[in-house]
């Protein structure tokens, strides 16, 4: 199953080695159904405004096999009814000028929805980079701290060594180094 939110805090411990990690390879579908863990996804998807949610739904709807399939079926029905003798009620004879208008209307809305979804994606990209900048700042600070801590350790070790040498020299006043 997908991990519960409180497991997010224990993930540091699970890195230390013992026990199986709770990170399992899941399918993309399972991962998408789970709660968002990454701050960028939380801000971008969970806190999306109504307009943004509708925009996501619209681009997901138009960019789906269902849309393509239903549109194709409707086109075939339209052309069929308006060209086969059997049907008496025809509203758009050859060369299907009204169908052409329908295509234009579809294209006139697909363009803006495409841009809408592109803008959303650009917005997310921008947010992701800002997050990267914040995180890398923290990481760099941590790295510098680690380096400084090790340097302090080296200094301390050096002092211990000097102390030992001094004690040895005191014990053998001849000063002979062996």
């Amino acid at each position: 199953m997908i991990s519960a939110p409180e497991e997010g805090q224990t993930s540091h411990e699970s890195l230390s080695g013992e026990g199986p990690t709770d990170i399992e390879i899941t399918t993309a579908r399972q991962r998408l159904a789970a709660k968002h863990k990454h701050p960028v996804n939380q801000l971008f998807h969970d806190e999306a405004t109504l307009g943004e949610r509708v925009a996501d739904k619209a681009s997901a709807g138009i960019g789906s096999w269902w849309f393509l399939g239903i549109q194709s079926v409707l086109i075939v029905i339209w052309v069929f009814i308006n060209s086969v003798e059997f049907f008496t009620h025809k509203w758009d004879l050859y060369p299907f000028i009204l169908l052409n208008l329908m295509f234009s209307i579809q294209a006139a809305f697909t363009g803006p929805v495409l841009l809408l979804s592109g803008n959303r994606q650009a917005q997310k990209d921008r947010l992701r980079l800002e997050h990267t900048a914040e995180v890398s700042e923290t990481a760099e600070k941590a790295t510098v701290e680690i380096l400084e801590e090790i340097e302090r350790n080296t200094e301390a070790t050096l002092k211990v060594l000097e102390h030992l040498k001094k004690r040895r020299d005191a014990k053998s006043p001849t000063g002979a180094t062996s």
Binding site: H12, L43, L101, G111, L115, Q121, L147
Partner: protein
């Protein structure tokens, strides 16, 4: 480390949320700065075009104009009809819109792929910097280990 980590993450999310909702906020990441804050005129216009056409006001106004056009020319409301059923002039206008929408979509896409390129270049620079840090840390630890080994030898000599 973990105790310090939680509130820091919270602060980060808070700052990000503020910047996310403010289009005029200053950017922190160098790639965002280069891409948005230092964009040339053409790029700015491209961004505005994409933002304008890819917005709910555009879609809603376009829908309203469509309905008004069809209502007037189908039912003959208010003024003399100028584009009777099946609305060939409307078709032309919509095609014109689509003709411009395509290039604008590509313009926005090109901007985005350019940004992706800068992002990767920046990531490569950062990786170099990170490697340098790690190398320095490793050298320092090796120094430390050498010293500790010297101490060990001193102690061994002492107890021998």
């Amino acid at each position: 480390m973990a105790q310090q980590g939680a509130p820091a993450t919270h602060d980060i999310v808070h700052r990000l949320r503020l910047r996310h909702r403010d289009p005029n906020a200053d950017h922190k990441h160098p790639v965002n700065k280069a891409h948005y804050d230092d964009a040339p005129l053409g790029a700015r216009i491209a961004d505005h075009l994409a933002a304008g056409m890819g917005s709910w006001p555009f879609i809603i106004i376009q829908s309203a104009l469509l309905l008004v056009w069809v209502a007037i020319n189908y039912y003959g409301l208010f003024v003399k009809r100028w584009d009777v059923y099946p609305f060939i002039l409307l078709n032309l206008l919509l095609s014109l819109q689509a003709t411009y929408a395509g290039p604008i979509v590509l313009l926005a896409g090109n901007r985005q792929s350019q940004k992706d390129r800068i992002t990767l270049e920046h990531a490569a620079d950062e990786a170099d910097k990170g490697e340098e840090h790690i190398t320095r840390i490793l050298i320092e630890i090796k120094k430390n280990t050498d010293l500790t080994l010297q101490i060990l030898r001193e102690l061994e000599a002492e107890s021998a």
